[in-house]
């Protein structure tokens, strides 16, 4: 096993069964490997299967056919409980709609993955405070989601995704609901995490400019990867407005 290989997808098929006869194949044999420390973006038209693929990578969903190895673990044969554990320890999700737990403070939200990991309340509080400080939300730790703006919510969500020091961050259109300058700020945060912590990031976006900043750009069309190229046009301090 190549230790630098984090994600290894082989001939992944995903079919949905909507009603008895209507079998809907969304992914048609995806092959994808992602190495440790890579920043990969996935682009493609709406409905091309980006989120479906991301859910499989995040061990939220199982492929209908194919092999998937995550850090050497065979996801397809893992039990539900093991998948929960993998999501908890190895993966950090960032969603377009933030998905913070309502009525819980920013602090509680960031503590949540650590709570499921069984970390003591003292330790997780300390770490949650550090993480919130890092994403620039140190002064808002007691605020509940309904008291935060979209960009602030997304920063809390990123802090939450980092809670258990995952090897991968999966971000499905994290800037999709934000204006361009706020989106820029979130994107800068991802770059910082990537550069300073060497975290592997997979980003789904509809913005070509944002995609260009990442190391590798995959284009998905109708459930197939139709192109793959190098990017890397990111330089700190540069403030390209991100097109929505």
């Amino acid at each position: 096993m190549n230790s630098s290989k984090v994600i290894d997808l082989r001939k992944i098929y995903k079919r949905f069964y909507v009603g008895t006869p209507n079998e809907l194949e969304i992914l048609h044999g995806i092959d994808l490997t992602v190495n440790r420390g890579e920043f990969v973006s996935i682009v493609g038209a709406s409905g091309s299967g980006k989120s479906t693929l991301m859910n499989i990578i995040g061990a939220l969903d199982r492929p209908t056919l194919g092999e998937y190895n995550l850090n050497g673990i065979d996801i397809c044969s893992a039990k539900d409980g093991e998948l929960s554990h993998i999501r908890n320890k190895q993966i950090g999700f960032v969603f377009q709609t933030y998905n913070l737990i309502p009525r819980n403070t920013a602090l509680k939200n960031v503590e949540l993955p650590m709570m499921y990991a069984g970390i003591s309340s003292h330790k997780r509080r300390k770490r949650a405070e550090e993480l919130l400080e890092m994403v620039g939300m140190g002064d808002r730790i007691k605020h509940t989601p309904d008291e935060l703006s979209g960009g602030q919510k997304q920063r809390v969500a990123i802090a939450r995704a980092l809670a258990n020091e995952p090897s991968i961050i999966l971000a499905d259109e994290p800037t999709g609901a934000l204006d361009s300058s706020t989106g820029r700020m979130i994107m800068d945060l991802f770059h910082k995490l990537h550069r300073e912590r060497g975290i592997t990031i997979i980003l789904i976006t509809h913005s070509n400019e944002l995609a260009e900043e990442t190391g590798r750009i995959l284009t998905l069309m109708d459930g197939r990867i139709i192109s793959e190229r190098r990017g890397g046009a990111y330089a700190e301090g540069q403030h390209t407005p991100c097109a929505q």
């Binding site: 939220l60 969903d61 539900d80 929960s84 320890k89 309502p102 499921y116 069984g118 309340s121």
Partner: protein, 420 residues
């Protein structure tokens, strides 16, 4: 983890105050009903036990029926054409004297009382009742709290002495001590009766209900029977009387013997009437049985209301889980196992039930105390009853929370996240 779940459940309940309250209400009512019915049942049981051990339970009741009748309930043989009762058909003090003499070994006494009715004392009114010691023993738990009771000499000689109830002493003379030695002047139909107050009594276990209905005038002043008999306008004839047996006497045997004795002497040559007897103990026993049956029925109703409350909890949990589908999806994405989710919602259900039952226990205790004081009984809820009903509500929480919690636990994370 458990602590986190408890805190989480509490904050969830706080966030939906109205809904939580309404959900708890079902449990509160159910538990309160169970507890108060248990208290009432206990009180009634104590009451019947008390009555069973009082002179009341050793009482046999005599009355007059037509010769042809088997017993008092024998309406079929009741004959309209039988001649009306004459003076000589009634019981008289002669009957009583003879019985008391010949059955002195088994008979404690014959209850003689004569109600003189309501009399005026200044602007107040009071009921005056002539009693002999046996009759007084049947009047409930009379406790002399000041002065003394009526002595046997005063009973025998029919002295004009009286014991008055506590409340009357206060309203007539200001205080209990003040009443002693005073002369009670009662007027009825312009006839004046004077009694010396020798004692003040307090009646135990007077119910609040009786108090509200009759006020303190419901409790009479007692004077010796022999004294009242001289005042009485009625003659020395009684349609019925009660005899009280000595302790540990076979009541049925005594009743039969007394009846035989009366019928073989006073009613031997009577062409139309004879004496018959009822033993009250039997009636008391069946009352006791009816009470325990009633308690069972009420308990069943209370249990049903508790179940309805539990279903209310389940209903709310199902709604809440549907509402929080996305949250459940997010939790799963962050690494919550099915077990984590199940525990979270189970604890929420259990907490609703526990808070509800705590309030219910409090309410039930108050309600039970209030109702038993209204009924003049003294019931207590044992720690056991409370423990049982609270643990039942916990079991309810688990039982009715389990289905919704499992439903939440089994949600597919993707479907839950995509839920609109």
């Amino acid at each position: 983890m458990l602590k986190d779940n408890i805190l989480l459940a509490l904050s969830e309940l706080k966030a939906n105050k109205m809904r939580s309250l309404l959900t708890m209400l079902g449990i509160v009512i159910g538990i309160a009903a169970v507890i108060s019915i248990m208290i009432l049942g206990d009180g009634m049981k104590r009451y019947t036990v008390d009555v069973m051990s009082s002179p009341e339970s050793r009482r046999v009741y005599f009355f007059i029926i037509q010769n042809a009748q088997e017993d008092i309930y024998d309406d079929a043989k009741y004959d309209e054409s039988v001649r009306e009762m004459r003076r000589s058909d009634y019981f008289s003090s002669k009957t009583f004297d003879k019985l008391q003499e010949s059955f002195s070994d088994r008979l404690e006494g014959i209850s003689l009382d004569r109600d003189l009715g309501q009399m005026k004392v200044g602007s107040e009114s009071i009921n005056v009742c002539g009693v002999n010691p046996t009759a007084l023993s049947l009047k409930g738990e009379i406790k002399v709290i000041a002065g003394r009771g009526i002595s046997s000499d005063e009973y025998n000689k029919g002295k004009a002495v009286v014991i008055i109830p506590e409340k009357k002493a206060k309203s007539l003379y200001g205080s209990v001590e003040n009443a002693l030695g005073r002369s009670l002047e009662c007027k009825k139909n312009n006839e004046l009766n004077c009694y010396t107050v020798v004692g003040v009594y307090h009646k135990e276990k007077e119910s609040m209900m009786q108090d509200m209905l009759f006020g303190s005038s419901g409790e009479p002043a007692f004077v010796p029977y022999a004294n009242a008999a001289t005042v009485a306008v009625t003659d020395d004839c009684f349609y019925s009387f009660s005899a009280v047996a000595k302790q540990d006497t076979d009541l049925n045997g005594l009743a039969e013997d007394l009846k035989k004795s009366i019928n073989n002497s006073f009613y031997k040559d009577n062409d139309a009437y004879k004496a018959d007897v009822l033993v009250l103990e039997d009636a008391l026993k069946s009352v006791g049985q009816i009470i325990s049956l009633m308690k069972l029925v009420l308990m069943a109703i209370a249990a049903i209301s508790l179940i309805v409350g539990g279903i209310g909890v389940m209903n709310i949990m199902v709604v809440s889980i549907t509402e929080r589908t996305r949250e459940i999806g997010t939790r799963k994405a962050l690494g919550a196992t099915n077990g984590n989710i199940r525990t979270q919602f189970l604890i929420e259900a259990i907490i609703i039930c526990m808070i509800g039952s705590a309030v219910g226990v409090g309410l039930g205790l108050l309600l039970g105390k209030f109702m038993s004081s209204l009924m003049g009984i003294q019931g207590v809820a044992t720690l056991g009853t409370i423990a049982i009903s609270v643990s039942f509500s916990m079991i309810f929480g688990v039982f009715f929370g389990f289905y919704p919690a499992s439903k939440a636990a089994k949600m597919n994370p993707i479907d839950a996240l995509r839920y609109e």
